[in-house]
């Protein structure tokens, strides 16, 4: 753990110097959204201060500069997830919009009454509701592969649910409510054996591990910038070029067209076909800066450091009487979801907040997961590369104290 430059990293995140209720901030709500390093903040300020204009339009210098930076960020995203081409990188608002885009374009074009879409029981609402909406419109059926009491996918049951009717498998790479990392290689292999395309919801996985979409051979991979130390309001849909080419556009407007008359419109080529209107220019550039920042540290080093943090937190949590970890398994990213005997997660959240500790208390937009574990909500501490063992000690001491006060 000593080799990971956590103090240097912490110094790059100005918000970590904030005091909350007169106590040093211990920010453990990273699964909801990550904080931003100065480098990302600076890149946005620099964009608006020196290089801002609309992209893909002007012949003037600023527009050319802004376009270069914007398209440069697309190149960075492409390299970051090892896509084949920048044509496969579509900028959207976030993982949620990316899934909705796939549901409304690929889904409407390829999924019909009686067809099936297969998800898992640990999905975020964003990977449930768009499919339910599509099923309602088309008469398709949503199938849900079950999880076990450790919060892991029951793979044999998942396999059984793949049928000739399955037209898409859409699963979470890493669960936001449990921390479980799905066996995506096996999932993709099982789907490929029947020629079924696979979408991976990488919103939670992307800041914690290196992702190689070509090695995975997934058809779609979606994620949000705000969980990747990048600005909020920006995200990525990766799709294999052939699939994206065949899909109808999502929204109509400027930038997504090549030629418009009142009788007919010719759509633009990839990736612009899916980027109608002026995009979120500055925040895309900010995402490029976040990727530069992460590359400098190294995703593998981040994953190793966070694994140590999680192991330490899990070991400490297991010592606390009355604490139950929700999703207690060995295939996890840095998320500790838990409940305490007779103390509601919202009380835990308010109590810890008074100590400067930010955690999430609630259903984590995964109500079916809560129902499965028969809890109304959980408390969730989620870690990032800038967290420390000392912060975990503060958290655990806080939990012990609040258990005492509740008696």
């Amino acid at each position: 753990m000593t080799t990971f430059p956590v103090e240097k990293i912490r110094a790059d995140f100005p918000i970590l110097q904030e005091k909350i209720r007169n106590k040093p901030l211990v920010y453990l709500d990273n699964a909801a959204s990550c904080q931003k390093p100065q480098q990302v903040i600076d890149s946005i300020v620099h964009c608006y201060s020196h290089e801002y204009a609309n992209v893909h339009r002007g012949v003037h210098t600023l527009s050319v500069k802004a376009t270069d930076r914007y398209e440069g960020a697309r190149e960075k995203v492409k390299d970051f997830i090892n896509a084949k081409s920048t044509k496969e990188i579509i900028f959207v608002r976030g993982a949620t919009e990316a899934i909705n885009l796939v549901a409304q374009t690929f889904g409407k074009a390829n999924i019909k009454a009686g067809d099936e879409i297969l998800i898992t029981a640990m999905e975020h609402h964003s990977n449930i509701v768009p499919w339910q909406m599509l099923c309602k419109e088309t008469g398709a059926v949503l199938k849900v592969a079950p999880i076990d009491l450790q919060g892991e996918l029951i793979f044999t049951e998942f396999e059984k649910l793949i049928s000739d009717k399955t037209k898409l498998v859409s699963v979470v790479h890493m669960s936001n409510a449990l921390g479980t990392i799905n066996p995506v290689e096996k999932i993709i292999a099982a789907a490929k054996a029947k020629n079924i395309p696979v979408l991976l919801d990488g919103a939670q996985a992307i800041p914690h591990m290196s992702v190689d979409v070509q090695a995975l051979d997934c058809d779609f991979y979606v994620f949000s910038g705000h969980k990747l130390y990048a600005p909020s309001g920006i995200g990525v849909l990766y799709g294999k070029q052939a699939l994206l080419e065949a899909m109808p556009p999502y929204q109509g407007g400027g930038d997504m067209i090549r030629k418009v008359t009142f009788t007919e419109t010719e759509y633009n080529t990839l990736p612009y076909k899916f980027e109608a209107g002026t995009p979120n220019i500055a925040d895309v550039i900010g995402m490029g800066a976040a990727i530069d920042y992460l590359n400098e540290i190294g995703m593998d080093k981040i994953a190793a450091y966070e694994a140590e943090l999680l192991a330490y937190a899990t070991e400490q949590a297991r010592q606390i009487k009355g604490l139950r970890i929700i999703g207690d398994n060995n295939h996890k990213g840095a998320i500790l979801s838990f409940v305490l005997d007779k103390i509601h997660p919202h009380d835990i959240g308010t109590m810890l907040d008074s100590l400067g500790i930010a955690i999430r208390a609630g259903h984590h937009c995964a109500m079916p997961v809560m129902d499965f574990f028969e809890v109304p909500a959980t408390a969730r501490a989620s870690f990032a590369m800038y967290n420390t063992k000392e912060e975990i000690d503060v958290l655990m001491a806080g939990i012990e104290d609040l258990i005492k006060i509740f008696g």
Binding site: R21, I343, H344, P345, H346, D347, T350, M351, S354, L355, A361, G362, H363, M370, V375, P376, A377, D401, L402, K404, I405, F406, G407
Partner: protein
């Protein structure tokens, strides 16, 4: 330890959370309404026994945080023997206490409920305290469906 929270988590609240009053199903209830806060998963069922326009008994079932449990427990105590109009007036007083202006509150009428005044400093927790009262409001209006504070 947790000194900043003394206004929110008063001893009365811990007491009602540990030992909620009137915590049982009422078989012969005249009114039964479910309250649900989807944000935190708090869920309660409120039972009322009426005699004319008077609430002669109140009880509840369900699970929630300390604030919502204490709030509904205290509420079932205070509304017993009140007329519908009196209970409704109390609902508005309670609402004022948790979200509105301090000078509008009739401290005498509010009585023991004053221990919940602390939530006004915690906007994320106001709904925990008011869930019980919104459920009562629905019961008084004789709405049988479930109500939700979100």
């Amino acid at each position: 330890m947790f000194d900043d929270l003394r206004d929110l988590y008063q001893e009365v609240i811990f007491d009602h959370n540990r030992n909620p009053r009137n915590f049982h199903i009422m078989e012969n209830a005249d009114r039964k309404v479910e309250g649900f806060n989807p944000l935190c998963g708090d869920r309660l069922t409120l039972f009322l026994k009426m005699e004319g326009d008077k609430i002669i008994d109140a009880s509840f079932q369900g699970s929630g945080c300390a604030i919502s449990t204490a709030s509904v427990s205290l509420m079932t105590e205070i509304v017993k023997g009140k007329t519908e109009a009196e209970a409704d007036a109390l609902f508005h007083q309670f609402h004022e206490m948790t979200t509105g202006k301090e000078e509008m509150i009739d401290l005498e009428a509010i009585g023991k409920l004053a221990v919940l005044a602390g939530v006004r400093e915690y906007p994320a927790r106001v709904k925990c305290a008011t869930l019980a009262w919104h459920t009562l409001d629905a019961a008084l209006k004789n709405e049988q469906a479930s109500i939700s504070t979100e």
